[in-house]
């Protein structure tokens, strides 16, 4: 399709504008984190600029604790929800089976549950089961909410899966396990990786579920929230900014992997599909 230069410029301008608005609050957070004072008006004089809060954030053992809890929750959640999501995406989009239609509807349900209530409900439930809440109960809570999302993301990819490839493999005597390992997983890999990214992102930023299910293992957003609503210090936005910096590195790495795997799978598809 012809895209004229003006159209492309228009779209680029629009995208730039959206990004600018999107990053405006991040800019504001940076402003807040560099202020020596907790209360300030903008613009503040240069002598009020300090990196003290960053130093505090980096050296605080508490912040280290929270980051480690959030990371643990994020990693476990991502692994669990992508594994479960992979299979349920196949059940959702790929296989024809009896309960499929119902399954498709029900998969979405956890998303339609207010998260804070889900968190409370899980807390009551864990209590009923006599389970002490800690970071791993939070990982369960996150997985309950994130697994439907990973299912949807992988499903979209699974819909695009060329069935004949699996059939061809079966034709050549591959077992179901071999087909899964050699054909299905490599072809769905881009979807799985973006699902992993989403899972980590959503788990990392999640507040409502963590609030009720982490027990004594506070996750970073809980601390940030508590510190924001009572006992605000510019260290709070400083942690936020450090978060962004860390995220930029991580996201670059993750999306690098996505790109690489997409190219690989495209090559695989081309080789297998022959066009």
């Amino acid at each position: 399709m012809i895209v004229s230069r003006t159209q492309k410029a228009g779209f680029s301008l629009y995208a730039g504008l959206v990004l600018l608005v999107f990053y405006f609050p991040v800019f504001c957070i940076i402003v807040a984190s560099l202020s020596k004072r907790r209360f300030f008006s903008f613009p503040y004089p240069q002598e009020q600029i300090t990196f003290k809060w960053y130093e505090d954030a980096l050296t605080s053992p508490q912040v280290h604790d929270f980051v480690s809890v959030s990371l643990r929750i994020g990693v476990v959640t991502a692994l669990a929800s992508v594994t479960i999501g992979f299979f349920s995406a196949l059940a959702y989009a790929r296989y024809r089976w009896k309960g499929r239609k119902t399954f498709q509807r029900l998969v979405l349900l956890p998303l339609f549950f207010p998260q804070s209530v889900l968190g409370l409900a899980l807390l009551m439930w864990f209590n009923f089961l006599d389970v002490t809440t800690s970071w791993w109960t939070a990982a369960i809570a996150h997985t309950v909410w994130i697994a439907p999302i990973t299912t949807l993301i992988i499903s979209i990819q699974a819909y695009g899966l060329d069935e004949s490839l699996e059939e061809a493999a079966r034709d050549m005597g591959a077992t179901r396990w071999q087909i899964l390992r050699k054909i299905t997983i490599p072809l769905l890999l881009p979807g799985m990786i973006s699902a992993t990214c989403f899972a980590v992102l959503l788990s990392w930023g999640n507040f409502a579920l963590s609030l009720f299910t982490t027990g004594a293992d506070s996750a970073l957003p809980e601390w940030l929230y508590a510190r924001m609503t009572s006992g605000y210090q510019p260290m709070v936005p400083a942690v936020g900014v450090l978060n962004v910096l860390f995220a930029i590195i991580l996201v670059l790495v993750l999306f690098g992997i996505v790109k690489w795997s997409t190219r690989k799978s495209r090559r695989a598809t081309a080789a297998a599909g022959g066009h």
Partner: protein, 392 residues
């Protein structure tokens, strides 16, 4: 040792039972707990005790200690955490005076601490918390007066905050909370939505004490007051920092429901115009018009409580730590130990100024203790209704 042994056995039984029920995995973490909690301490507290400057020295004293502190923003939800089963998680809980005695003790959520061990510290506290006539402040004791249920440390009055560039202290102290009903205040104040404080202050604003059962007329008056206050507020926020910021920037002239606890940081940063007001008179006991709180840190009735729980309580009595607690990173407050010269001398002038030390005694004298409101449920639901149906 005996307890550890007991719990191992109990956990083994639990594991066996749960495995039989097909829920084996739910018990795995309990097994982990049984390994002993002498390297662990979990504190549920108001902002301050979870500051690094308070916790770090304790961490240094106990190598390898996993010390976690979580802050809440209201007493009831912290209690609810215990009610919902986190009693097995926390070792210490730090709340305002009334909750330990009036709720947690009765529900078996906390346990007594050693009178013997802590009496020497209590005896050195300010007269308000210990004196010969009264003995220990009753809020720190069980209703029968026999058990010590927590340690007192931070305290302060809590009423409202004004910007003295806009509203004079004298006028505010004179008029008290009803000042906010003045039509001239419309759109000039922010409401700090700490619900249980608001409910009490709205009672006082309406002209009666919150600490009694209310007549239908009073309830109706309360409703109107709440509606007016919500309708006229320029902003409502649960975040004191946001309100202080608005006060300093001139967006609002006063904050409804606020204390030294919420405004001291702004004062410490040099914004002396931020001023906490304790009204001179009001409908409270003895014609007083101001409320005060102090915090009680209690040991949670955790079946496997950390042996370090009482150690921590003792640790925060150290003069240098008293000063650190008072000047915690995010909120500055007077502490009960300031009657001791070795504590008091640690405070610098601007630190004292941040929590109104010069007028503090006066302010406290005008105040009565924070208690549980008998018909709080009814008033809270009216309060929420008023917030929901807010006009303006």
């Amino acid at each position: 040792m005996k307890t550890t042994h007991n719990f191992s056995r109990r956990d083994f039984m639990k594991l066996a039972g749960a495995a039989a029920a097909g829920l084996a995995f739910s018990s795995v973490p309990n097994l982990a707990w049984a390994a002993g909690r002498d390297k662990e301490l979990n504190i549920l507290c108001w902002e301050g005790y979870n500051s690094d400057n308070v916790l770090n020295p304790f961490r240094k004293m106990h190598k390898g200690l996993s010390l976690k502190a979580e802050s809440g923003t209201d007493d009831p939800s912290m209690i609810n955490k215990l009610r919902a089963g986190e009693i097995k998680v926390w070792d210490l809980i730090n709340l305002n005076q009334c909750w330990a005695r009036q709720q947690m003790w009765g529900e078996g959520l906390i346990k007594p601490i050693s009178m013997e061990r802590f009496m020497p510290y209590i005896e050195k506290m300010m007269p308000m918390f210990y004196n010969k006539e009264m003995g220990i402040n009753p809020f720190a004791l069980s209703p029968d007066g026999k058990e010590l249920i927590g340690m007192m440390q931070r305290f302060g009055p809590m009423n409202f905050v004004v910007n003295t560039k806009k509203i004079s202290v004298d006028m505010a102290e004179d008029q008290g909370l009803p000042m906010f009903l003045d039509p001239k205040m419309k759109g000039k104040y922010g409401l700090l939505a700490w619900d249980n404080w608001n409910v009490m202050h709205m009672c006082i604003t309406a002209g009666f004490s919150p600490y009694k059962e209310h007549t239908p007329e009073e309830v109706e008056k309360f409703k109107q007051t709440a509606q007016t206050l919500f309708a006229n507020a320029a902003m409502i926020s649960g975040d004191p920092a946001q309100l202080n910021q608005a006060l300093i920037n001139g967006e609002i002239d006063a904050i409804y429901s606020g204390g030294i606890y919420t405004c001291s940081v702004a004062r410490f940063e040099g914004f002396n115009e931020v001023h906490h007001i304790s009204p001179r008179r009001g409908p409270l006991e003895g014609g007083k018009g101001s409320l005060q709180w102090f915090e009680l840190t209690s040991v949670v009735n955790n079946p496997d409580v950390s042996p370090l729980a009482e150690d921590f309580l003792e640790y925060v009595q150290r003069p240098d730590i008293c000063h650190t607690v008072a000047m915690a990173e995010a909120s500055h407050n007077p502490v009960t130990q300031m009657s001791q010269p070795e504590v008091f001398n640690k405070f610098k002038k601007d630190e004292l100024n941040s929590f109104h030390w010069d007028t503090l005694e006066d302010q406290m004298n005008r105040s009565v203790d924070y208690q549980v409101v008998p018909d709080n449920d009814l008033l809270t639901s009216i309060y929420n209704e008023a917030k929901r149906t807010r006009e303006g």
